[in-house]
Symmetry: none
Subunit: 200 residues, 4 copies
C-alpha cells in the first residue's frame, strides 16, 4: 500500500472481519490482534481500531459472521433436506416405523459433513464458540448459536429434545476434535437415536 495515499474503500469494515476470521482460522484466537487483522486485510492499523473500538468488538463481529455461515451450512445441508423430502406417510396411514431413527441418521450425517468438510473451518467455529467461556461479550452470540440450532431441530421433535440433541452433537464433535479420533457416524446415529426416545 503506497504510504500517504488514502484509499476509497467502502466495505473495508467487512474486509477486516473476513481477515479476522482468516487469522483466527490460521492462528487461533490468541493470534488475533489489531495488527494481525490489519496486516491480513492489508489496511493500516488505525483502520482496525477505527472500525472496531476494541478487539472484543472485532471478535464478536467475527463470531457472529461465522455463526451465520454455520447456520446456512446447517440449513442448506443435504442431510436435513433429505428429511423433508422423506416419503410422506404411506397410504395405509402408518407412519414410517421409526421416524426418530431417520432424524438421528440425518443428524449423524449432518455432523459428519460439518466435521469432515473443512477441519480448519470447524475448528474455527468451535474456538469462537468456546471462547465465550472467558469472554462474556461472546456469550450472547454463543447462546444465539445454540438456540438457532435447537430451533432448527425443534420442528422435528420437541424443544427439550432439540436442545439435548444440540448438546449431544456438541459433545461428540468436541471429542472428535480433541482426541484426534475419526468420526464414527454409526455411533453418533445410535446415540442420537437414544436421545429421540422418551425414557418413560
Amino acid at each position: 500500500m503506497a504510504p500517504g495515499t488514502r484509499r476509497y474503500d467502502p466495505d473495508r469494515r467487512q474486509r477486516i472481519i473476513d481477515a479476522a476470521i482468516r487469522v483466527v482460522g490460521e492462528r487461533g484466537i490468541a493470534g488475533l490482534s489489531h495488527r494481525s487483522a490489519a496486516a491480513e486485510a492489508d489496511v493500516p492499523l488505525g483502520s482496525t481500531t477505527y472500525h472496531f473500538k476494541t478487539l472484543d468488538d472485532l471478535l464478536v463481529a467475527a463470531l457472529q459472521q461465522a455463526n451465520e455461515g454455520f447456520a446456512q451450512a446447517v440449513e442448506g445441508s443435504a442431510a436435513l433436506a433429505d428429511l423433508d423430502r422423506e416419503p410422506a406417510p404411506d397410504g395405509d396411514g402408518t407412519p414410517s416405523a421409526d421416524p426418530g431413527a431417520d432424524l438421528a441418521g440425518a443428524l449423524a450425517r449432518l455432523l459428519g459433513e460439518l466435521l469432515g468438510a473443512d477441519r480448519g473451518r470447524v475448528e474455527l467455529e468451535y474456538e469462537l464458540y468456546l471462547a465465550a467461556l472467558r469472554r462474556p461479550a461472546l456469550r450472547p452470540v454463543a447462546a444465539q448459536w445454540c438456540e438457532a440450532f435447537a430451533a432448527a431441530l425443534a420442528p422435528r421433535t420437541d424443544p427439550v429434545t432439540a436442545r439435548a440433541l444440540v448438546a449431544v452433537m456438541d459433545g461428540i464433535g468436541l471429542q472428535v476434535l480433541l482426541t484426534d479420533t475419526a468420526y464414527d457416524e454409526a455411533y453418533a446415529r445410535e446415540v442420537l437415536a437414544r436421545m429421540l426416545r422418551p425414557s418413560s
Copy 2:
C-alpha cells in the same frame, strides 16, 4: 519476602504449578504468564523460568495436575459413591425397576456438583479443551481426561454408552457455561436416562 534472602523452599516447583492453576482458573490460559504465576506463588520471576524453561512447560504441568485433581473429584464424588452403596436387589428378587435411572440421577447430581462447586475450577477444565483444540501438545491430556471419565463410568454400563455419557455431560456443561443458563438437574437426568436405554 526480604530481598537477597534465599529461601529454603523444597517444593517450590510444586507451588509454582499450584499458583499457575489458580491463575488459569481466575484469568484463563491467556492470563497465565511467567510473571503472573510468579506473583501468585510469591516467588521471584526468575524462579519460574528456572523451573519451567518455557511457558508451555508450565502450562502442560498445570493442566496435567488439574486433570488429576478433577479425576479425583469425580471418583470421590458423593453422587457416585451413593450408587455403590445402593441397596442390593430386594428380597423378592426384583432388581430396582430401573437401575439406569439411578445412574442417570447420580450423574446429573455429579454434574450439578461439578458445575456448581467452583466456577473457576470448571472453567479451567473446559479451557483445557479449548486449548487442546489449537495445541496438539495438549490433546493427549484432553483425551486422557475423556478416557478416564469414560472408564469410570464403564463398569456401570457399557463402554460405548459410557463414552456417550461423557459426550452428553460435556455438551450440557458447555451449554450451561456458555449461555449463562442455570443448570437444570432434572433436564440433565432425563437426557442421561435416555442415553442409558438401548434404542433397539
Copy 3:
C-alpha cells in the same frame, strides 16, 4: 443521534466549549481531546475539528470561558455581597472596630465556598495555572484572572494589599487541594486578617 441527520444546532460551537469545560473539570487538561469533547457534547468528532481547528484553540476558548464564569462567581458571591450590605457605621459614629477583620472573614468564607462548592470546578481553575506554566499562550488568561480578582478586592483595601490577598488565597487553596487537607476557615481568616494590617 440518528446517523445521517443533520441537526439544526445553532450554538453547537458554544456547546462544544461547555462540554470541553466539563471534560477538563472531570479529567483534567490531559483528558481533553477532540474525541472526549465530541462525546461529551454529543456531536460528531468532525464537528469539533471543524469549529476548532486545533486542540489548543478549543482549550483556550474553554479556559477563557471558565475564567469568566469564575469571575462572575466571585463577584456574585454572597460573602462579598454581605460586605457591601454591611450595616453602616452605627449610631455613635464609630465604624466597626475592625473593618479589615470583616473583609478577612468575608474572603475566608468566599474561599471556603469556592473550595467546597465543586471540586472539579476549582481543580479546573488551578489547572489553568499549571497549564500556563508551560504554555505561554495561556499566561495572559492566567494573568487576567489574577488581575480581575485583585481588582475586585482593591476597592476594599489598596492595590498592593489586594494583590497580596490573592497570593495568599491562592497559596492556601493550593495547600488544601494538594495535601488533601480540609479547609480551615478560621485559619484562613486569621492569615488574611494579618495581611490586612500594615506592618509598620
Copy 4:
C-alpha cells in the same frame, strides 16, 4: 547503543530518574513518557518499565528527588544562614527591635534566590508540585514538601505562622511565574512581614 549488547549498568535506575527530571524540565510533565525518558537516559524502553512499573512511579520518584534538591537549596541558602548568624539579643536584654522583619527579609531574599536561580528549575518544581492536583499518587510527596518547608520555618516562628508563610511564598512565586512579572523582593518582604505580626 549497540543492539544486542547487554550493559552492566548499576545505577541505571538513578539515571532514569535524572533523565525524567530533565525531560520534565524541558518539555513539561506532558512530555514525559517511558519513551522520552528512555531516550534521554539512553537506555532501552524496556528498562524504564522494568525499573518503574508505571509512569506514575517514575513521576513520584522524580518529584521526590526534585523535592530533596529543593530542600537542600532551602537549607543551604545563604539567606537563612545569615539569620542564624544574627547577633544574639544584646546585653541589655532587648531583642532586636523587630525580629520578624528580619525573618521576612531573609525569606524574601530566599524566594528571590529560588526564583532567580534557574527558571527551568523552578518551573520544574512548580509543575511537579501542581501535578499533584490531578494525580493523587503525587499528593503525599507534595504534602511532604509543604511540611518540610513549614518545619524548617517553624523554629523561627510558630507552626501556624510557618504554614502561612509557605502558603504566601507559594502564592507569590506562582504569580511571578504565571504573569511574567519580575520578582519584587521589597513587596514580598512587606507581605511576609505582615504575616509575622499577630493580628490580635
